[in-house]
Amino acid sequence: MKRTEFDIKISIEDVCRFLDIHKKSDSYEELLEELKEMLPMAYEKIEPMALLEFGSLDGYTVEEEGRPIKEALFGICTVGKRMAEWSTQLFAEGDYMRGMMADAIADNYLFQMDTAMEQTVIDMCRKQGKGIIRRIEAPQDIPMSIQKRAYDATGAEQEGIGIKPSFMYDPVKTVCQIYLLDDDTSRYHPEHDCSRCSNLTCRNRRIPSVQVKVRTGEEERRIRARKSESLLETFQKKDIFLTAVCAGRGTCGKCRVQFLEGATEPDEADRKVFTEKELEQGWRLACRAYPKQDCTVLLDNAETDFFVLADTKDGNERRISDGTSYGIAVDIGTTTIAMQLVDLSDGRTADVYTAINRQRAYGADVISRIEASNSGKKEELRSSIRQDLLKGIGKLTEDNRLKISKMVIGANTTMVHLLMGYSCETLGVYPFEPVNIDMIHIPYRELLEDERQDCPVTIYPGISTYVGGDIVSGLYTLEFAKREKPAVLIDLGTNGEMAVGCRDGILTASTAAGPAFEGGNITCGTGSIPGAICGAVYRNGKMETETINHAKPSGICGTGIIDVIYELKKAEIIDETGRMEEPYFKDGVLLSEEGNLRFYQKDVREIQLAKAAVRAGLETLAARYGISCEDVDRFYIAGGFGYKMNIHKAVDIGLLPAQCEGRTEAVGNSCLQGSVKYLLDPDAEKETEELRKMARELPLSNDKMFQELYMEYMYFE
């Protein structure tokens, strides 16, 4: 493997540190000036190249916990000849200062290349089914001659790199990496580990990792965390999921953890979220905590038991028979992934698989993913979803022993872009142009870069950037294109997509409700996890609550929020403008003594914004379609939320129109159902294409009616 494209910014700060240039120094300004002048020249001269190849360690003794290690991945990174020549020339001219600067710049670049290669290294090993034990360095961990082995393995000679009898490379700014491999794919540690390095006086020496003991209930897990990464990032890499609504900007307060030992210094964001006392008790935002020493962290809000809808009607027993062919239907949600293994001969579900979409590491909503992709993490996001899919497919097919003959994927436009590796540059800003929302047919091996299956894959087409293939899939399964009377489909997720239609046409919109109904932006809000308050009744001046699985209350989820608002309104604790009466205005309403869970005025305001967006969107959509809600035959609520939501209460608080009562149906994961149906229906392609042609998107942004209704529905009539 050879890589020559790097998007690296030389860090002046690090270069200064390396050269011992301090702010306090009298000549600081001048030296800085000089450095800045050199940078453009350096960029022009640097010709980065990285080579990677697998090889053997035969003839060397390398052990890990007494086990001999036989395989390695060899890497060679260089900044190229011209950079080396430049510094040599500067020294030759007697310009030692600039010579040293050029050297330091090259070192800094190399250092960063090293980090930039990590993901590539991991991806290569994943594909090969190898885990990375650690990285070693010559000569301290292994004789210098290993550099020759790496040289030969990577074919460096053909790339113009030389090697001296001392096994040093030429040009000088060329380094060798050796990653030790084995078959344990549960860990990847490609980072350079200064703590094992013998060069104690190296100015770049930083002990990059610390040990974090993560305690969840009775369990304790030990993980290594890099100092340069926030605890949130570390957790995500190790598949420990904390809610991170604001994607680590430190504003949502959802990623809270408690340090029992080795607490980090609280930063500004911590001080905003936590009281002095909580800070003392070790509460911190995981997204802001960069552990500098070994520590112990208590987690009670990790999403271990996230509830994912996979819609099995046939029970949970796995049934595989010989001689039939199978297909896999997939729903890639922003939060979760659901799959069904379908027996194509009789349409029965043979098995199901659900998981959390690990891209959540990059933020809860699509906008944060778009942003992450645009800031250089496109490949990481792609690899994340590929791995997630491969894992699910592996589970469903007994490690690919069962061969599938078809796969269909339904997903929103952003998820499709990330999976296909499209650029997301235009998704996040007006006019919100997608790269491609047509139906995609692609070979399995190309889509997932994996050879273990071989079949065609279809990806649902979308209607726009914010009304995607997941909605088309839902509309297809609910047969909107064939209906005589208009029906409505509503998804109460962050983007609040909705559609109204029948065989005469389909109109869709996205109302951007925000994450409030998923617990985001609500002080003690949470997803549908055990312990989430999912129901409430106000009796004798107290809120009596019920939680999912009757677990200890840990927060409140969407259905609970609707109940609480309904009860508060009924008890006249909030008036029609949404204002809470004293003393609740100041103190909030107590939901649970345990954990001191409260519902505050601010939370009511968030709900007002969200519910008004949904309702105003729906009314505007119906009106622009030329009907009123009275004419709607059926209302379908997609998502797990629909099953448990009390329609009467949702109507009462103004989230849904009165006509919903008696005409509403929870349809569960309609996207996954659509994917299953597509697998089985020979006319699926034709029908979905037709449906999509009938569908239009209503832009709400400059719709006067939406604006007016939005204000109107902010109130509780």
Partner: protein, 216 residues
Amino acid sequence: MDLIQEISEYLQKGRAKNVKQLVQQALDENMDPKAILNDGLLSGMMIIGAKFKNNEVFVPEVLVAARAMNVGLSVLEPKLIEVGNEPVGKAVIGTVQGDLHDIGKNLVVMMLKGAGFEIYDLGVDVETSVFIDKAEEVGADIICMSALLTTTMPKMQDCIDMLKERGLRDKYIVMIGGAPVNESFCEQIGADYYTPDAASCAEVAKKVVLEKKAAN
């Protein structure tokens, strides 16, 4: 109750008709137009703004109050021009390019008006150079930018950069806001002020513009 007090109270309730009628009556009684403006209309708006900031009232209340203020202003304006009332300052405001959210920005517009600013509202999806060109054209004191999408926040940085390029950075006070914006982003891009809500935006804007004027 004194007439001007009454104007303020009706304004807070969003009763446009009453406000209009009372402003007219006050003018007929030869009251000082500046007093009607400052102690009636603007003070009423500031009270609503403070309540909004405190979460006591919500967006719709501010909107109806602002409507009442505008109706009152339209009656008062000819007189104000006659007596030569100077605005506190001039503000150019808009939602940045790529973003069409304007509810928050509109609230800011109303509160700035309520604080006595002359407003040049550029609307939504405003190109970076347009903010600056408009500010140059009207001789603004302050440039306000709103962004509701994390993906459009970088446009605020662009504006600061462009101001620097054109050698105008110190000429204008730059304020930024919108739900995803925060203090540290403000510092990071080198804008002058961030506030989390419209009422504090108006307070801060008024304070700093007056200070800057006094210093010059």
